[in-house]
Symmetry: D3
Subunit: 125 residues, 6 copies
Amino acid sequence: MDASESGRRILSELMGPDYVEKKDKNRNAFNEAIQQYSEEVCFGRIWARDGIDRKTRSVINIAMLTALNRPAQLSHHIEGALTNGCTVDELKEILLQTAVYCGLPAAGEAFRVAEEVLRTRGLLD
Amino acid sequence: MDASESGRRILSELMGPDYVEKKDKNRNAFNEAIQQYSEEVCFGRIWARDGIDRKTRSVINIAMLTALNRPAQLSHHIEGALTNGCTVDELKEILLQTAVYCGLPAAGEAFRVAEEVLRTRGLLD
Amino acid sequence: MDASESGRRILSELMGPDYVEKKDKNRNAFNEAIQQYSEEVCFGRIWARDGIDRKTRSVINIAMLTALNRPAQLSHHIEGALTNGCTVDELKEILLQTAVYCGLPAAGEAFRVAEEVLRTRGLLD
Amino acid sequence: MDASESGRRILSELMGPDYVEKKDKNRNAFNEAIQQYSEEVCFGRIWARDGIDRKTRSVINIAMLTALNRPAQLSHHIEGALTNGCTVDELKEILLQTAVYCGLPAAGEAFRVAEEVLRTRGLLD
Amino acid sequence: MDASESGRRILSELMGPDYVEKKDKNRNAFNEAIQQYSEEVCFGRIWARDGIDRKTRSVINIAMLTALNRPAQLSHHIEGALTNGCTVDELKEILLQTAVYCGLPAAGEAFRVAEEVLRTRGLLD
Amino acid sequence: MDASESGRRILSELMGPDYVEKKDKNRNAFNEAIQQYSEEVCFGRIWARDGIDRKTRSVINIAMLTALNRPAQLSHHIEGALTNGCTVDELKEILLQTAVYCGLPAAGEAFRVAEEVLRTRGLLD
């Protein structure tokens, strides 16, 4: 299995097969190369590595995406974190810690994004 | 034990008693309040929480401090991560993942900082 | 009066009682701790301090939130600045200065956010 | 021709006369000074300079605005880049390169913004 | 008095005549235009404006430069703030507030920079 | 020629064979994977692409690295830009443009870095 295939499999396990299908339908001549980059480099090369488990990779991403101010991607990776076994309580702890280091506005936005995901999944009233 | 005391104990366990002693010697009328803030809020209020273990807290900090471009604090928290049971291989995996999301310049700087800490500790030739 | 109560009072004076009421209605098991953090640490511990007046604290926040690219929070703190006696002309001066240091895209976005607040308040045609 | 006039002409050539007309209609006592700043300093003073051609200036802006996380302004400058002779393929190459240095989330957002512009212009199915 | 002259006067009042003299000695064909930009746009056009006093302008800059992670420029503007009548206690309050919004690493670095300036000026033991 | 080899060749052409040799001497078990990533992904996969020339790639990097606050990497890529045919005057224009969009502190730092490189190369007195 080459990097692209293995990346697509990981992406599908992480975000669900619908997510990958939707990405494939949106693929065109303009975004083809960045999609390849995402599948081969991000998922096929980095996420595919051993050494830390997927749950830890999700934790790292939530921390980085909060710091980098990227709410759209944060939303996807909160989905991924839940899939990888991160509990709602653990998610809360991670985001609370971002308040001290990234500042309260960053943490507040991350909580808002997380609450949306949790509501969609029926994990929050 | 109040938040300040409990924060100082955690800080001491994380960075070593020498680190805390040095901070205390540098304490003055100007930085007194921010040092209190660090001890009570950061360590006494957030790091003191249950819900995720200290190693996970270290992982989160390494990810955030790399994204936030804060090499001096990253250096301390790489120390802390090693103390909290993060292996050199795990550290490598965390930093590799930052390359994809924060960009190669951020990851390159984080590797440079980490190598310095590892050399000081005799964990890298 | 403890830090939480004093923080809630300041928040209510700054953003209005409706803002606090709405936050309370949105409080749940997931965001409880970050709301406590906001009330106790941000407003009860920092905003509650003497040494600079509230108008100056609003000025600082507008500058930081523009630099940090946080338009949603900037909007709230432009409200707060007006409440704290910042005039429309002073607001204009603060935002103009951000153009030089944070760059024109940051300042342009901050002006856009401020104009929305001013229009809602009937302070701009 | 003074800096303001020359800036307005460049802005009009870059974004189209409708863009300038719309800006003029939105001009008011509050944003007058930042609009002057934009016309005189940004376009009349910097974009008006010789030394590099306008297409290169567009390339620089796309790179900066992706790094700075400013999608609204990025959208305008992708328009400008196309006007200045940047091809769709060149645009793709620029954005791909941002993935390595600014990280994949920044590049992904920039591709999303660019695709919208390209679709509006009929340059992408 | 044109913008350049008026900017140089303000810069001299803010940072001292030695600072301006040193900048002039370092002026060369490569940095001539950015120095002009700094004098005319930053100081001659923005700092020269009425509407808020210079002390408030210094407060804004300290907040922005802490958020933007620019310690070298922060150091100069802490000098300027003291010149503009900002007390050591007020400086402490401003920097404490950055901890909540920009995060503790940003505030810690700003305190470190400020302490250096205060020591050089004999305002801190 | 595989991606790694082709990346190493481009890196050598861009920064000089001494730069690559020095990197190889610093290679160890800890940084091996990030060096591979740099060679294969950054240089072998992205810089190796056709579609824009290397001088344009250098321009993009200077713009991004100034925005991202990464002076050490900026220094290397200013070297690379000169190698790729960017003139001193063009370099000046690029950096001037960053002042408007990234802010004056970012541009000032980038000029400082560039002047060091130019002096080392004998291109500035």
